[in-house]
Amino acid sequence: MTFKRHGLALAALLALAGPALAQVRIEQLRALNGVGPAPASEMERQARLDEARAALSRGEADAAVVPLDTAAAMSHAADTELLQLQSLLQRGRVRQALAFAAHTAAAHRDTPEARALHFWLLALSGQSAHAAAQLAASPLVDSAVTAALPALDQPAPLGAGLPGPWPHGTDLPAASRPIATGLLLDGGALALVPAGAVRGVGTLWLRNGLGRASRASPAVTDSALAAAGLALLQVEPALAVATPLQRAPRPAFAGSPALRVATLRIDSAAPAWPLLQAGFLGRMDSAGRQGLGWSSGATVGGGPVFDGAGRLVGLALAGADGQERLLPAALLAPLAALPVATEARPRTPDEVFEAALPWVAQVLSSPAP
């Protein structure tokens, strides 16, 4: 039992640590637990996990499925399941990941990383109250999630070390930090961002909610967009998005439920999933901007706002008074041109979060040397 517990914990850490030699890992496990040579099947399992890690690092999550299923059929182990979760999340299957994370967290109680990931995903996808209750019932020691969960509604930056998507695509300097939320357009070749956040900033990167990063540079921006306080960025290479973004046919009524997805304000260059906030829209002001019934919390602000049916209704943007309001999609040419979804079936927050993940990007910059 001791071996199993220690082994699971270390294996889980290694699952998140990136590619390495399977043999080295097993020897580390063996040395830690003072047991004999690894069974041959464990060697094989670790080789499958390495295969999966390599696929994830290339951004080829589909290629990770078979080796991970093979590993899962060899042992019910936390390190396999943590990688399966990363595979699901890189494929944008948040709801399946949430369900599976619940299992991994509870079935591998000796692996705090599993619980941390589950609580964090719950909190980010709109279930912060349930995540907090779970955390209280099952505390995490020495986990960044313990500090970050109650701070999600505070404006201070969150610390490093939080769970995040598997990084792939363009490498970023360690000093880069998220400065804004971008909404990808034109199949991921452009991004709409708050102009104030990127004005005068040298090098920019964008990283979507699936963990893929690209370089970005300012594009010529329509004057109406600029007047609204927005800028367009060119993304190279494009952060391709397979599913279409659709908007609501009309502005949202006051009092209707709305969901905003925004980049976390975080003191780290590491990939991070965005935060979904749920609330109610307020009334329109004379400029056609609508009140938002929630604060920015631990986000850099901005970000797309969706109605209860998961349709884009606009962008959140801070005004001169620092208050964020909704810029209705109908007022912004690139958003008004999006296809209209007439179906108004209510969506659950995790469904909206899942749909938004490929479209919402961290905008990162690096301080000048």
Partner: protein, 646 residues
């Protein structure tokens, strides 16, 4: 006579003795098994027949309604069907089940038609008392009060209830140390005519080592094989020779030589579940090797692996052989496991000799709980499954209801109130809750661009029980949640603003009372701030409205602002200016003649507006801290709005 008969009888007996004895037709019983459901009401994703199937060719699998549909198909093939589980059906569950204390998992399993299940280690996650509650039913209490997330009842007999498991959890080897009795029933028996099959359920002995100590306090976990073997004489004494063990313990398929092909086919039993290289036996094999020969089939679980060690074993998807795990007599016993999360079902056809009651054949097959066929979009088998779900939407509806209820919006505070506003009407028909709703609907449609309404009517039947009231244990000012508001306005109606003449207004008010213009009951509408009217109960139908006075009031501000002089629309039953028009807001139900308000169908210049619940939320937002709470007794609300005279 007697003399003559005797030779005849002797001849008949002799003839009968020469007829060869015919074997009785075996009773065919179908057992459908799954394990480690872990409350996966929704599909856990795609899964392949084996790990060699390319990702793109794997069907989506699982989901409670698809499990139900596939089992219904099997049941249709053989009415002698019994559905069993291998344990871990609850615990370690997704939010949609966990938030509601796994009542959704139990309710969907009820609807799927589960009969018996072993108790897995995760059944003890919340302790034995909670397991008993899930077995027996009843609401969950938190801090001595009913928990709001318990007894939603979407899959139980009524809202506000939890039926408990209609299936039996079996725990033959789990004993309460205080009483010496098993925590739950040790076994279940199913009769098919004169043939009985016993199902013995158990978790693995090492369960206390993998669950929270408080979850298993006061329980003793006995040896699995010893427990079964001790039960065999008891079962035989009841005339039972067909014994199935549901055991929450398992193994994995491994190749004999590490590195050689192992595609973990769901019907494989590679290397008889032994470890590669060392050939060390699996945990499940160790138990089976000590089982009494009376056990005919072992349905295992726990490892989330799929395997089928039987006469239908197909290693690596192609190597067909007869397999099984040896019992203590050396006989190969069929042993199965069905992966996890509702991905796979094990379909076992059992042949039982009705005379000897012995099992004469066991034929298990694992099959995917497929939701689609990536290789054939028009697969008729999948179409039949989908048709069944369409015709039997009960499970799907239960899942959808819980998905909806899990919304984090439900607990968000939208306003504070200083007093209860029930949906109970006073003698005149006015409700405190109805006044608030009518004001909210007027506010949402009062701006010219949103309708330019000057008054709003709300049908009384749309103000649902209990109105805006605090729970008994709470105090005022009470923070009203979105869930509270949604309870009162659950219909999802939208607002419609229309133009009515003064005469139509009077007619609509008359149509509230039984006997007027086809109205079948008194249905007194709730009216917004600024409108007041009186009615005479003893007057004849269509002549009850006495006075109607309208004072233009801007309710988009608070306190509301009177914006013009009072307009006496009706005085002593006489409409003063019948052709004068007013912009009036109602909901779409009323606008289309609902509740018998046919007059409203004649409204002109109709403009659709917000959802009723959205209007309510927007209005109440003005009473959320730090703003002052809503006080229904505030004189600025201009009550009473409706008065009745004898």
């Amino acid at each position: 006579m007697r003399f003559k008969l005797l030779p005849l009888a002797a001849a008949l007996i002799a003839a009968a003795a020469q007829i060869p004895a015919q074997a009785a037709t075996p009773v065919t019983v179908k057992i459908v098994a799954f394990n480690d459901y872990h409350g996966n009401l929704e599909s856990p994703g795609t899964f392949g027949q084996n790990s060699g199937v390319p990702t793109a060719q794997r069907p989506a699998v699982g989901g409670a309604e698809y499990i139900a549909a596939h089992i219904a198909r099997m049941r249709a093939a053989n009415p002698n069907t019994i559905v069993v589980g291998g344990g871990d059906l609850i615990g370690a569950t997704p939010l949609v089940s966990a938030l509601f204390f796994d009542e959704p998992a139990v309710e969907t399993l009820n609807q799927i038609g589960l009969d018996f299940s072993a108790v897995g280690n995760h059944e003890f996650d919340k302790g034995k008392d909670e397991l008993r509650r899930l077995q027996n039913g009843g609401c969950k209490f938190t801090n001595s009060a009913p928990d709001a997330n318990s007894c939603r009842g979407f899959g139980s007999s009524a809202p506000g209830t939890f039926d408990g498991a209609r299936f039996k959890w079996l725990s033959a080897n789990v004993v309460e140390t205080a009483t010496g009795r098993t925590l739950l029933a040790p076994y279940g028996i199913k009769s098919f005519g004169n043939t009985k099959v016993a199902f013995v359920g158990m978790t693995f002995k090492g369960t206390p080592g993998v669950v929270t100590p408080t979850g298993v306090a006061g329980l003793q976990f006995n040896d699995e094989a010893d427990t079964v073997n001790a039960l065999v004489p008891r079962l035989r004494a009841q005339g039972i020779e067909a014994i199935v063990v549901l055991l929450h313990q398992g193994g994995f398929q491994n190749p004999a030589t590490a590195g050689t092909l192992n595609n973990s086919d769901i019907n494989g039993c590679l290397n008889d579940l032994r470890a590669s290289g060392t050939n060390a036996p699996s945990d499940i094999a160790k138990v089976v090797s000590r089982l009494d020969n009376a056990v005919d089939l072992v349905i295992s679980a726990h490892t989330h692996a799929a395997y089928n060690c039987s006469r239908n074993t197909t290693d690596n998807g192609g190597a067909v052989r007869t397999a099984g795990l040896p019992n203590k007599a050396g006989r190969m016993v069929p042993v199965t496991s069905a992966s996890a999360f509702g991905r796979v079902l094990t379909e076992v056809d059992l042949q039982i000799d009705p005379v000897t009651r012995h099992v004469v054949d066991v034929s298990p097959k694992n099959m995917l709980v497929a939701r689609n066929n990536p290789l054939n979009a028009n697969d008729p088998a999948i179409a039949a499954i989908n048709d069944w779900i369409t015709a039997n939407p009960q499970v799907k509806n239960t899942v959808a209801a819980y998905k909806s209820a899990v919304s984090p919006l439900a607990s968000q505070v939208i306003a504070a109130i200083t007093a209860d506003m029930s949906n109970g009407a006073n003698g005149a028909g006015e409700m405190q809750a109805g006044d608030l709703i009518a004001d909210a609907q007027l506010q949402a449609t009062q701006p010219p661009s949103l309708g330019g309404a000057v008054m709003a009517f709300m049908n009384a039947g749309g103000v649902r029980n209990p109105g805006f009231v605090k729970p008994a244990a709470a105090s005022f000012p009470y923070n009203l949640t979105y869930g509270d508001a949604f309870t009162v306005q659950p219909f999802g109606n939208s607002l419609v603003t229309m133009t009515l003449t003064a005469q139509q207004l009077k007619d609509a008010l008359e149509q509230q009372f039984s006997g007027c213009m086809g109205q079948t009951a008194n249905r007194i509408m709730q009216v917004s701030n600024g409108l007041k009217y009186s009615w005479k109960s003893s007057a004849a139908p269509c002549s009850k409205i006495v006075d109607v006075a309208f004072t233009p009031t801007d309710v988009t501000a608070y306190p509301p602002i009177i914006t013009g002089p009072t307009d006496n629309i009706v005085i002593a039953g006489v409409v003063q200016n019948p052709t004068k028009t007013y912009r009036v807001t109602v909901n779409n139900f009323m606008a289309t003649g609902g509740d018998g308000f046919g007059v409203l169908v004649g409204g002109t210049s109709q403009l659709g507006g917000a959802q009723d619940i959205d209007a309510l939320i927007a209005y109440l937002a003005g009473f959320k801290a730090p703003a002052a709470p809503y006080n229904p007794a505030n004189p600025v609300l201009a009550k009473p709005r409706i008065t009745a005279t004898p």
